[in-house]
Symmetry: C2
Subunit: 220 residues, 2 copies
């Protein structure tokens, strides 16, 4: 059965999953790259971004990489908030802008982009962005169909993850707590009082200083 | 040199160090005992509360107990907020009430209780509660003198710890993150953006599910 999975969602000690003041130049606002600094040295990330064979065998292979690698296993489609596609809000000012992800986005699957302002599907390499004004249940139904028997990844950002957690649609939630205090931005945990009652939680601290929490939903 | 140390300050995943709705009957508000559940099974706690020899050798002795035991080593005085003494606010309705801690409080040292409403010192067993309207710097100067060359423990609550962190007076900060989402209460991290820049941070996850963070202040 298709599961809905959240992977590598990084939050600060004070629970912010993204910073304040997001722009095209600063997708994470004042947080900058700090929430993902644990991810960049991993073999998984290096091999995603490296050119040709030069990236082969490079990168760390410890617990951070194990979690990074799990992100892509068995995924057939993604659901993301509009903010993960681009910084715009309201009606699209320019449909020619093709998002933050370049000509070969790393999703390699259908991606349902949640927005109140639908626009035509956008095919970039192996990724198809589908812009839909849909509830969590509707988006999951569509993505499940697109995933063809594989799982669906819920790609964030935090407000979207929160909405799906509130609707109790998330089966697997991997949160990475980074030891920084951001002070402002968008919080992950707001409105989720008692979340732990619906999940088994496993926790491991990485030698790099981050803490991986895996929330596994009790079988339905 | 005397250090100011915070130990075993437990917070939820969403950063609340105490719940909402504190009363005499519910010192932690709606959080109940959940933030300290990691602490109760430790040998350190069992031997603090056990009667005579029957508690000898009982209790867990893993990483949680190691951190629990470190709480009391080399401490000569404590500073605490009024809320850790009792739930009252404003002028003391009744000085006959002697706080939450019984006839032999577990501090065994002078304790500076920060309050805008001073009252006479209160001696209970080996503990002397001294009620002072003092700034963090003033309270630390007094407690340092009382500690007689040993360290001073900053006992909480979260608002008090925050004030001392803002004043950059804390040398050692042990925070325990408990995998629950409280949703409401008093937050520890508010107003402390960039705190990590002043500390080295070491993190370990306990098999019991909590995560211990040790913040060590760079030498002055």
């Amino acid at each position: 059965m298709t599961k809905l999975r959240v992977h590598a969602l990084a939050v600060s000690l004070d629970g912010f999953a993204t910073g304040e003041g997001r722009t095209t130049e600063a997708p994470f606002g004042h947080a900058g790259p700090r929430l993902m600094q644990w991810f960049f040295p991993t073999r998984t990330f290096v091999s995603m971004t490296g050119h040709d064979s030069e990236a082969e065998g490079l990168g760390t292979t410890g617990v951070d990489d194990a979690f990074a690698a799990a992100t892509n296993v068995g995924i057939g489609a993604e659901i993301m908030g509009r903010g993960k596609f681009g910084p715009q809000t309201g009606p699209w000012p320019d449909e020619a802008w093709q998002g933050w992800w370049g000509e070969e986005p790393p999703f390699h699957s259908p991606v349902v982009v949640l927005t109140h302002h639908p626009r035509p599907d956008l095919v970039l390499g192996e990724t198809t962005f589908m812009f839909r004004d849909a509830s969590p249940h509707e988006a999951l139904a569509l993505a499940t169909e697109l995933a063809g028997g594989l799982d669906v990844r819920l790609g964030g950002g935090p407000s979207v993850v929160r909405a799906f957690l509130e609707a109790d649609l998330v089966d697997h939630l991997h949160v990475v707590v980074v030891p920084i205090v951001l002070g402002r931005g968008v919080r992950l945990w707001d409105g989720l009082e008692g979340l732990e009652e619906r999940f088994a939680i496993e926790t491991v601290a990485s030698p790099t200083g981050v803490v991986h929490h895996v929330f596994t939903r009790a079988p339905r």
